[in-house]
């Protein structure tokens, strides 16, 4: 187990990178505590898998350093770094039994057969695959294969980090949920530093204590799931997390007050100084309510998604989503929207520009 530090990491897949857009990772600085559960969240192509491969040692970064417990490991091979990685598609040694699969990383490191046997059984018990130990790898279903590859990652007691690269992609939906909670449980049992890469916000938010949101090779925000949901630092985070995402509405800033559609809007707190002119209001659909008076909008679409209902209202060309608990308004009718002030924020150039009241 180890504390991980990433310092000024930059990586390009080109031999001779010139512009910022040649870089898959632009400038990454991170500190991760020993024994934490972290998630890297972002859309496909944002650089999260690149970052993961740099941490595991499958890639050497163009610039910057990777440190485990303050020791520079940038030039070390994956085996020397003593890490474990679980891949998107289950990797299993087909001709070996499940037992031999789990024992493989230990045998390669010359662990004594007696110690190894005890450890394999312990891990198999944790993953609830003890009954499969004698079966050949090729006979397993995808979810059991993935469990075995997770097991191979966890079987070494001294691993620095266990990394998961979108491990649930090939798993059937009804088993996804089971494996997800299994992972969380495993983290509590083994207390290893774990990094989970995904583009699925539910997976990231349920697994991690802290989520790193990435976009275009940069870190946009690092925070707990609650922080990311309640106070996104960037409109990208607001939009990417939540279902539906945060409403981003054009507004005018005038003398420290925000005007939307000509009406002054109550905010969480003061707007950062020096911001005038065009900006954006960010408010989550959860924090808008319908009432008798407020901002008038036309209902374009209503949807019942089970847990709650979503109303899509139009104000001119601006679309606003609202989550409604009670009765649904009719399609085409007029509604009045009320923004909850302490959840209403200002974004300027994409970044948050309002401050919370103390």
């Amino acid at each position: 187990m180890a504390k991980i530090t990433l310092s000024k990491l930059q990586h390009s897949y080109y031999a001779d990178p010139q512009e910022p857009k040649d870089y898959a990772l632009k400038n990454i600085n991170l500190d991760w505590d020993d024994g934490g559960a972290y998630a890297l969240l972002g859309p496909s192509g944002c650089g999260k898998s690149t970052l993961l491969n740099i941490i595991s040692g499958l890639l050497t970064p163009t610039h910057g350093q990777v440190l485990f417990d303050d020791k520079n490991v940038t030039q070390l091979t994956p085996a020397e770094r003593n890490i474990a990685q679980v891949f998107q598609f289950p990797v299993i040694y087909d001709t070996m039994s499940v037992f031999d699969n789990l024992a493989f990383p230990l045998r390669n490191r010359g662990v004594k057969e007696k110690v190894l046997k005890a450890r394999v059984h312990e891990i198999a018990k944790m993953l609830e695959i003890t009954n499969l130990l004698k079966i050949r790898g090729s006979r397993l279903s995808p979810d059991n294969k993935q469990k075995v590859s997770m097991g191979r990652g966890l079987v070494r007691e001294d691993v620095n980090i266990v990394m998961f690269d979108e491990p649930l992609t090939v798993i059937d939906p009804h088993l996804k949920w089971k494996l997800r909670s299994k992972l969380k449980e495993l983290h509590q049992k083994v207390r290893a530093t774990m990094i989970y890469v995904t583009h699925d916000q539910t997976e990231a938010l349920t697994f991690a204590d802290q989520v790193v949101v990435m976009q275009d090779g940069d870190i946009v925000q690092i925070g707990t799931p609650v922080e990311l949901f309640e106070r996104p630092a960037h409109t990208f985070v607001g939009h990417f997390i939540g279902s539906p995402g945060m409403n981003i509405l054009p507004c005018e800033i005038n003398n420290g007050a925000a005007f939307f559609n000509g009406k002054k809007i109550q905010l969480e707190g003061p707007i950062k100084p020096d911001i005038e002119g065009t900006a954006e209001i960010g408010i989550r659909p959860e924090f808008i309510s319908l009432s008798k008076s407020g901002i008038e909008a036309k209902v374009r679409k209503v949807a019942d998604v089970g847990r709650h209902k979503i109303v899509e209202a139009m104000l001119g060309d601006t679309r606003i989503s609202v989550i409604v608990e009670g009765e649904l308004p009719a399609q085409g009718s007029s509604v009045y929207l009320n923004f909850q002030p302490n959840q209403t924020r200002i974004y300027h150039d994409g970044w948050i520009a309002s401050e919370q009241k103390r």
């Binding site: 085996a79 493989f104 990383p105 390669n108 499969l132 006979r139």
Partner: protein
Amino acid sequence: MKTINQKAWLFVIPVLLLVAFNALIPIMTVVNYSVQETFGNNLFFWQGLDWFEQLLNSERFYSALGRQFLFTGTILAIEIPLGVIIALAMPRKGFWVPVCLVLMALPMLIPWNVVGAMWNIFTLPDIGLLGYFINNVLGIEYNMTQSPVAAWVTIIAMDVWHWTSLVVLLSYAGLVSIPDAFYQAAKIDGASNFAIFRYIQLPKMKRVLTIAILLRFMDSFNIYTEPFVLTGGGPGNSTTLLSIDLVKIALGQFDLGPAAAMSLIYFAITLLVSWLFYTLMTKDDEPKRGDRI
């Protein structure tokens, strides 16, 4: 009640006809010959199983069969490992991939009798490049028309040159189908290069290698043109393989009956070995989807 529709049989008829004309009817002609004696003029005399009995008691047949197994065994023992090694050494991506593939495919594009003639000239001690080189530069006496050992070395070298590429291409196809994640996982698990070969590459190549061995077995067991053009079965009988002997009996001596009996036994051996091999290799293959746990 379930209605039974017999119309589907109609759709089988074309295949049935095709198989009948290109396999069943020719084979039945051979079966017909194998139990009769003929002296030409379309006159046939019933002979029963005499030809089979005679053949199975003849030393000539067993020595040809022995040479045949020796030939097939030797070329398999060389071509399969060599093919796998070359495939492992070939690049997986980049500019050299198509170059390697084309170079590998070249020998296979050359017709059999041309290969025989090429090697014949190539190994002539007086004007052949290789033959001259071995005799006059290396100073080793080498003449395949006189020495049985030289003749054997030459036909084996020729087959290895002609057909190792097939094993290479099939193994290569197996190798490139392995996802990168397998190699990455093996690195992380601390696997040695040998372990990567033994537990990842070899299992993934198993299917294509089975096919490669099967094809090479059948082809080399039935080989005729190349050794015929190269050595004509000589010197003496030293390179008279089964097929060469068969043609000698059938066309050289015009003994259609014994030749037909020999063909059938020949065919039965090829079929039996191929079936045994294939059954053994696919016995514990991956299960069907439904059997997974």
